[in-house]
Amino acid sequence: MNTTLNDPMDELAPTTSSEPATEKTERFVKPVAPVEIPETASLSVDAATKVCTRNLDFYYGNNQVLFDVSLDIPEKSVTALIGPSGCGKSTFLRTLNRMNDIIEGTRHTGEVLLEGTDIYASEIDVVLLRKRVGMVFQKSTPFPKSIFENIAYGPKVAGLRNKARLAEIVEASLKRAALWDEVKDRLQDSAMALSGGQQQRLCIARTLATNPDVILMDEPASALDPASTARVEDLIFELRKNYTIVIVTHNMQQAARVSQQTAFFFQGILVETGVTKELFTNPVEKQTEDYITGRFG
């Protein structure tokens, strides 16, 4: 594709140039408040592993952005990926449903296993994989179509034509995403007319409609106001009962509120993983402690 500055894939590429500035500002602005840990921030010990990576290295061209990452993601729980900008957490997230494949010049070594099967194996159909491993993006991306069409898109492209069945899926997905009551009377209206928070919940509902096992969320609430953020967080918290969720977040309060397991990335290295409660109250690594206490970030 074109090599100009506004490369269409830029959005997926790691931020590089603007990083030092943001880091610096964050360091001075961030209040050093203790992170409150709710009781839910722990994990039952018997949770089976849904997704795991083994010695995963990842490269954009010659630029290595992930170093030897091995992480187990337990099923029916929320795993939060935290770390400063450019630490590789978003890249890691996108290796889990092969969204990085879209970018030219990326490669990896190591394995990503979904229920024990390497998703980068040649016999894996990436279209099917992305149906099983759904994704919600930082910026809500409703299609310029009706609310109904947005939700029905996944099942439709998979080949479902039955109108009654589609209507059922749309209703069920919107209910699960706690959006049904707000939109049930205007399913044929454009999704672009919804508020930012509603749009993001629509995107979550749209992902649910494909009936995935795993849902990846890339800073799903970072562009939302506090009230909408709270609603999205409540939703994530509810969804963990049925889905395996991996969420990238900059907000440590959020990580503590919604997740059971937390993984801390720094400069492409998985520094520490643990039950959220443990990691926030009693981090093993000095870097983790510095980050969660706001000494750098």
């Binding site: 594709m1 959005e11 992305r130 149906k131 759904g134 996944g154 492209v157």
Partner: protein, 334 residues
């Protein structure tokens, strides 16, 4: 006040003067352009007054100015643009989709992209020469056989394609297609590029294939831009004269392509529709060009009437483009 501040106050006046001077310069540039456009329009309307009537639009050309009409040119232009659109739209949009959505960034695709811009700037007379070689004579491949044609019976008539095409309307359409393809491709590429990548990613993340993503998300969002590009290039093709004259379009023609003089003729005898693309032809700008060169001064009025018709058609065409764009933009806002 210090010396420095006095100096600033003095400079301030000058700065304001330069500022308003620039505004006036731009204003004059705009109005002088409008003035010449107005003079042109007024002149054309003035000259065409009383000459543009039903008789003019329903008669063929004549040696007598009063009897001369634009019918052959109207039909010729209609057929030319119809076939130009049929050839240009799939090839142009297809090429743009390939270049934007599929082609990997390589030495080869970069050469193509750079040269598309160059091709868009090639003078139309050069395309005329290409058209003569490639379509009218077909590189001389069939010169050994006399009067070679491919004939197919289609149920309501026989489609007879002469080889080489010769100086026919279809050769003209092919040439015009080549002429506007680079513009259509570039405009379509820009429209496709304007579709946010996030929409594509969201579609992939829901398990859509590349084709489904293009079909359901990218193309609908890019349609206003693509169709605007197509219509504007077709209106350019409508006004082209030089390449068609090179192809061998006739300047004086007293029949419409295929002898199809009214739409009813085509319904009565569908064979005429199949004959039209391979018939001799003229077009509106060619007829105008012919009349302007006539010694009888009354033909200047006939030519002005033709120009007026062409201008009205172009305005209608471009207005359609604007309507399509506005309608689609209301539907899609990012």
């Amino acid at each position: 006040m210090s010396d420095q501040e006095l100096e600033y106050a003095r400079l301030l006046k000058r700065r304001h003067l330069i500022s308003s001077g620039f505004e006036w310069g731009c204003r004059i540039a705009t109005f002088s352009a409008l003035l010449f456009l107005g003079i042109l329009l007024l002149g054309v309307v003035w000259q065409a007054w009383g000459w543009l009537d039903t008789q003019y639009l329903t008669s063929f050309d004549s040696r007598r100015p009063k009897a001369a009409g634009l019918l052959a040119g109207l039909w010729g232009t209609f057929w030319l643009i119809l076939f130009t659109a049929i050839f240009t739209v799939p090839i142009g949009v297809g090429a743009a989709i390939y270049l934007e959505e599929y082609a990997r960034d390589s030495w080869f695709t970069r050469v193509i992209k750079v040269n598309l811009a160059n091709l868009a700037g090639v003078p139309s007379i050069v395309y005329g020469m290409l058209g003569v070689t490639a379509f009218v004579r077909m590189f001389g491949w069939f010169s050994a056989v006399d009067d070679l044609r491919i004939e197919t019976y289609l149920g309501f008539g026989t489609l007879a394609i002469p080889l080489p095409l010769g100086r026919c309307l279809l050769a003209g359409s092919c040439t015009l297609s080549l002429l506007i393809l680079p513009i259509v491709i570039i405009a379509s590429q820009e429209a496709l590029r304007a579709v946010p990548p996030s929409i594509r990613h969201a579609s992939y993340a829901l398990g859509a294939t590349k084709w489904q993503t293009i079909r359901h998300q990218v193309l609908p969002a890019a349609t206003p831009g693509i169709s605007t590009g197509i219509i504007l290039s077709l209106s350019r093709a409508m006004g082209e004269t030089a390449p068609l004259i090179m192809i061998g379009a006739l300047t004086y023609l007293a029949f419409a392509p295929g002898n199809l003089n009214t739409p009813m003729d085509g319904i009565r005898d569908p064979q005429l529709i199949l004959d039209a693309p391979f018939d001799m032809f003229t077009s509106i700008p060619i007829q105008i060009f012919n009349w302007v060169g006539q010694p009888k001064s009354e033909f200047q009025h006939v030519a002005a009437a033709g120009s007026l018709v062409l201008l009205v058609l172009l305005v209608l065409f471009n207005a359609t483009a604007i309507v399509i764009r506005n309608r689609a933009q209301k539907r899609i806002t990012w």
